[in-house]
Amino acid sequence: MEKFTTFTGIAVPLKRSNVDTDQIIPAVYLKRITKTGFEDALFASWRNDPEFVLNDPAYKHGSVLVAGPDFGTGSSREHAVWALRDYGFKAVLSSKFADIFKGNSGKQGLIAGEITDEDTEKLWDAILSNPGVEITIDLVHRTATLGDLTVEFSIDEYTRWRLLEGLDDIGLTLRDESSITDFESRRPNWMPKTLPALGAK
């Protein structure tokens, strides 16, 4: 994973609450078996509406989404993060994220920064008064800066460290492999076991 320190790009106001992952990427796009190429699927249904924010030329090349509360609720589909990433988004700011979405973002290097409802309103006002304006996401200082306006966002310390270092989770866990083996040797016998694959030796 690439290291993330700061990023500057066009801010997009998404003035909706409860943006669930079915809206971020409808289920019909989940049939692909690749991990990239989901840019066309992002907000696919809403993009049919000419009034939708990403259809506004000012925001078309947006890369920082400022959304209402309860962003990423519903399905666990990581495709939602892939679609945002493939479209070009590097960060989403909201006052509340669904847990699974937040976790998935951290795995893919998409910043899910939590800001207050008050700061969400301030950012929306600032963006709407100057459509296409750029915003700087600074992960080192946990700030989002748009012109004179700087707001702080929160992101859990461990995720922040991993993103700053560009570290891969599996690699980190495998450093503890001997602890896993040790734990496995202590598991009680009644624990569930599946059957071997058919045709396996």
Partner: protein
Amino acid sequence: MTKTNLTLAEKVWNDHVVVKGENGAPDLLFIDLHLLHEVTSPQAFDGLRLAGRQVRRPDLTIATEDHNTPTVDIDKPIADPTSRTQIEALRHNAKEFGIRIHSLGDIEQGIVHVVGPQLGLTMPGITVVCGDSHTSTHGAFGALALGIGTSEVEHVLATQTLPLKPFKTMAINVEGKLRAGVTSKDIILAVIAKIGTGGGQGYVLEYRGSAIRDLSMEARMTICNMSIEAGARAGMVAPDQTTYDYLKGRVHAPEGTDWDDAVRYWDSLATDSGAEFDAEVFLDANTLDPFVTWGTNPGQGVSLNDVVPFPDSFTDPNEKAAAVRALEYMDLVAGTKMKDIKVDTVFLGSCTNSRIEDLRAAAAILKGRTKAENVRMLVVPGSARVRLEAEHEGLDKIFLDFGAEWRFAGCSMCLGMNPDQLAPGERAASTSNRNFEGRQGKGARTHLVSPLVAAATAIRGTLSAPADLEEN
């Protein structure tokens, strides 16, 4: 400082810590059971291949096909080439990595959250994960069951562990006795309406109280299933005799002294009397009505005896705006009686309500009655085994005589990844879990209901409770 009085969730958590996280790092937890399906796993297997990694514990992993599978003509090749490709990818991956798979046509094929419990793989006190948010279902057994993303699926495949941050705990206390016609689906819809779709965020919910104790395992699974709709990471019910009676004798359930050891451990899991929850919610079962949704998120629900709410009745500006938008999408006028809402389709199925008990409850109402004209009813059992069991009991005949379609097992119209979709503008009473815009088909409108309300609605053609049938 170590707490002496612990909740159910904390006990299961503590017993699975492989490495305790320090300085803000998450704990590394061992995963006892990993369930796979075709939609969220192909990219995880690709990741393993790219890194030259193996599946660490194929013996703790099981796969089935559910999201994409057709519910008719299952003996023929899957018509949609992209669905077929995804299912073939799962079959290929299971073979390459030595994982047991229950494919379409197999007696154990079905919705992953119906299959795990049915096989007896889901047990109290274990950790369960699956790349599907409704993994919370398995919490009904007192398991800590988490929905995860594809990167985490890859992580579990490679290491059989997950780094997880501790959760907060919330008690959902439901005391009293449910009235006739009121079910566990109504409890959970009422809970979500009360705490909101983000109310459980960061929490593991524990459902407690006399009303929960009285519920069957199927009914508990319905409640835990929709914990995610309240934003929670998981939902749990402490194991008791009901749990043990359900488990005993199932294919993968422990036997002999293993069973005795297991029960001794399971009996120790209930939340200690002095344990404190980070939050508590109370719901009175005695006064609960059948609950249905009117909007486009599962928190937008009311009693079936109520009316479509007025947006101005919400004080929170976000909720008010969401209500305005939802009414427009749902094509509803505030003040309309919920019972006056006409539906086009009734869907009985999904990991929320497709178990044998759900089918029995609906069939008991439909038996000898006539379907409303112009209403289509789709009955999709949760697994091939549930389908067979239902046929053995003659339920299929009741559904078919009533005029419903009797399908093969899968996720079906809950999310419409297969051809089972609503047409634009169509309105459904659905026993599934999400009423999001476009969830059941582009432009489709969904009202979430219990199997009993689904059955009564199919008879009357408008959202109805079983009690409404007796009045006629």
